[in-house]
Every structure is written in structure tokens, then in C-alpha cells.
């Protein structure tokens, strides 16, 4: 637990997260954005909705790294890390999904009909289905974990499953939607983070700090849960 104490108890990255999130909110609302038809001011959702998914991907990566570390050392501490990073990543994914639903109902839906009338069209979008598959695979991770009683067996099986889940994550949220026609930006030779087409430099200087800020917030929440769980485990053993 010594290496955990090193970064989990440091406060500089927590302060960095607070500063970056404050900057995201202020610059995100007041900063210059390109004038695009249809999107209009909703383009500012890039700093919030898209950052949820980026934070999710980074946290799932941290989770799978800890799963591999567990399999290399069989230290149960890494199993706890992997679980909590995955849970926070799922929360971020759900937030990304629900914010995306709100955004889509104002930009993708037929403006002449109520938003729910366009639901069948929107729900068929490959990006949404891909993201749903990815999240469901990780829900299964939690179910699998909690259905095994034996601690070592639980840790080992869920670490292996975590690697499989990570392997399906990027194909289902990036590769699969890109090769299919979709309304979502970042499909069919239309990279969402293209300088010429989509986001200008004035948005990049907010977007990248926003990704770091939201990710650090996720790491903060995960480390709090990890520290609490480690305390609980210690009490149980003593």
C-alpha cells in the first residue's frame, strides 16, 4: 500500500482537477465558438458530453492496467483498484450516454415532431448501439464479479474478463460506428476533432484541459472509494 499512499494522498492533482474544471466552466460558457447551423450554442457540449466519454476511456484503461497488474502479482490490492476504476468509468459512460440523449433530442430529432417520434431513428445510430454494447459488457463485469464468493477466484476471473471487455470497448465505440453511416460526428471519414471542419483552435484550448479535469475528478472519486475499501478490508482481516 506504500505506492498507493504516494499519489492517492497527494493534493496537487486534486487542485489541478478543481482549477481545470473551473476553467472549463468559465471558458466553456464564455469562450469563442464557431457559428455552425443547427448546432449553434450546443457545440459547447463538447466540453461536457465528449469529455465524459474521454474520461471513461482513460478510466477503463487504468482499470485494465490494474487487472493485468493483478494477474502478474496476485496482489488483491490491484483487484480493488481495477474494480473501482471500472465503476467510476461506467458512471462517466452513463453520464455521457444521458447527456448525449439530451443533445441528440435537440439536434438530431425532427424539429416538426416531438423528440420521442424521432426516437426509432436516433436509437438505431451505430454510435449509440456501440456505446450501449460497451457499457453492457462492463455491467456484465460487475455482475460476474459479485456472483463469485471466493475472493481469489473472483479477482482472477474478473481480471481476465476485464481484459476481454477492454478488447471489445474500442472496436464497439470507435471502429464499428466509423465504418457505418451515422449521424454522430466522427463517422464515415469525418473525424470529429478535425481542425478544418469541426472544432476551432479556440475550442481546443478548452476541450483538452476539460478532458484532463474531468478525468482527474474521476480518478479522485475512484481513489476515495479504493482507500475506503482498503480500510474496510483491513478491518475485516484484523
Amino acid at each position: 500500500m506504500t505506492d498507493a499512499k504516494n499519489y492517492m494522498h497527494k493534493s496537487w492533482w486534486k487542485i489541478a482537477s478543481i482549477v481545470l474544471l473551473g476553467y472549463t466552466v468559465v471558458a466553456g460558457f464564455l469562450g469563442e465558438v464557431p457559428r455552425l447551423p443547427l448546432l449553434q450554442e450546443t457545440i459547447r457540449n463538447l466540453y461536457f458530453h465528449v469529455c465524459m466519454w474521454f474520461a471513461m476511456m482513460i478510466l477503463f484503461t487504468v482499470s485494465v492496467v490494474n487487472a493485468v497488474r493483478y494477474l502478474r502479482t496476485f496482489n488483491l490490492k490491484y483487484d480493488i483498484y481495477a474494480r473501482h476504476f471500472a465503476v467510476v468509468a461506467i458512471v462517466f459512460g452513463l453520464l455521457g450516454y444521458s447527456t448525449g440523449a439530451i443533445w441528440a433530442s435537440y439536434t438530431w430529432a425532427d424539429p416538426n415532431k416531438p423528440a420521442y417520434n424521432s426516437f426509432s431513428t436516433i436509437a438505431r445510430d451505430p454510435k449509440l448501439i456501440g456505446a450501449a454494447i460497451a457499457l453492457l459488457v462492463y455491467f456484465a463485469y460487475l455482475i460476474l464479479r459479485d456472483s463469485i464468493q471466493d475472493i481469489d477466484k473472483k479477482a482472477r476471473i474478473s481480471a481476465v474478463y476485464n481484459i476481454f471487455a477492454y478488447a471489445i470497448l474500442f472496436p464497439s465505440i470507435w471502429i464499428l460506428p466509423r465504418i457505418l453511416p451515422s449521424l454522430h460526428p466522427g463517422n464515415e471519414d469525418n473525424p470529429a476533432l478535425d481542425v478544418k471542419n469541426d472544432i476551432s483552435g479556440s475550442m481546443r484550448i478548452v476541450f483538452y484541459p476539460a478532458v484532463i479535469g474531468w478525468t482527474l475528478l474521476g480518478v479522485w472519486i475512484a481513489t476515495l472509494k479504493i482507500r475506503f475499501t482498503l480500510l474496510k478490508e483491513k478491518k475485516m482481516l484484523s
Partner: protein, 90 residues
């Protein structure tokens, strides 16, 4: 009987009328073209929340979101401190 006009349906102005009519049509057509030009010009400018920024009211939204963010972060800091104390006790 000179009160009967030789040819009552003789309109000398008829030709002129036709020219006037076509001129009217053309001007109306041109006017509608210009009207459509005006609407094009309006389409080009994407509607943004410029009004809100001019009024300064967008700052209210920023203040509200920042308050929520600060509240959440204070909660996080408190949790962090509580867990740190528990760790010290153990």
C-alpha cells in the same frame, strides 16, 4: 349619327398597356428575387446566444454552474479528509 363611335372597341393604348404589364411583372419578379436574397443573408448568420451575452446574463449561468461545482468539490474534499482521518486511526 355621330354619337355612335365608328369602332367602340378601338383601344389605341392597348399596346402600351401590354408593355406596362410586362414591366410590372418583371419588377415584381425582381422584387421577389431580392426578397429571397434577404432571407438567404439571414440564413447565413447562424443564430447564437448573442443577446444573452450582450445583456451579461450568461454570467448568471456561469455563476450557478460554478456554485454547483464548488459544492460538489467541497463535498469531495470533506470525504477525502474523513477517509484520511480513518486511515490515520488504523
Amino acid at each position: 349619327m355621330d354619337r355612335y363611335i365608328k369602332n367602340p372597341f378601338h383601344f389605341t393604348e392597348r399596346k402600351k398597356d401590354a408593355i406596362m404589364n410586362s414591366a410590372k411583372k418583371i419588377t415584381t419578379l425582381l422584387a421577389t428575387f431580392f426578397l429571397s436574397l434577404i432571407t438567404f443573408a439571414q440564413d447565413k448568420k447562424t443564430e447564437m446566444a448573442d443577446m444573452m451575452k450582450e445583456n451579461g446574463r450568461i454570467y448568471v449561468v456561469v455563476a450557478v454552474v460554478l456554485t454547483i461545482l464548488i459544492g460538489l468539490i467541497l463535498y469531495m474534499v470533506r470525504l477525502d479528509k474523513k477517509i484520511s482521518r480513518l486511515e490515520k486511526e488504523n
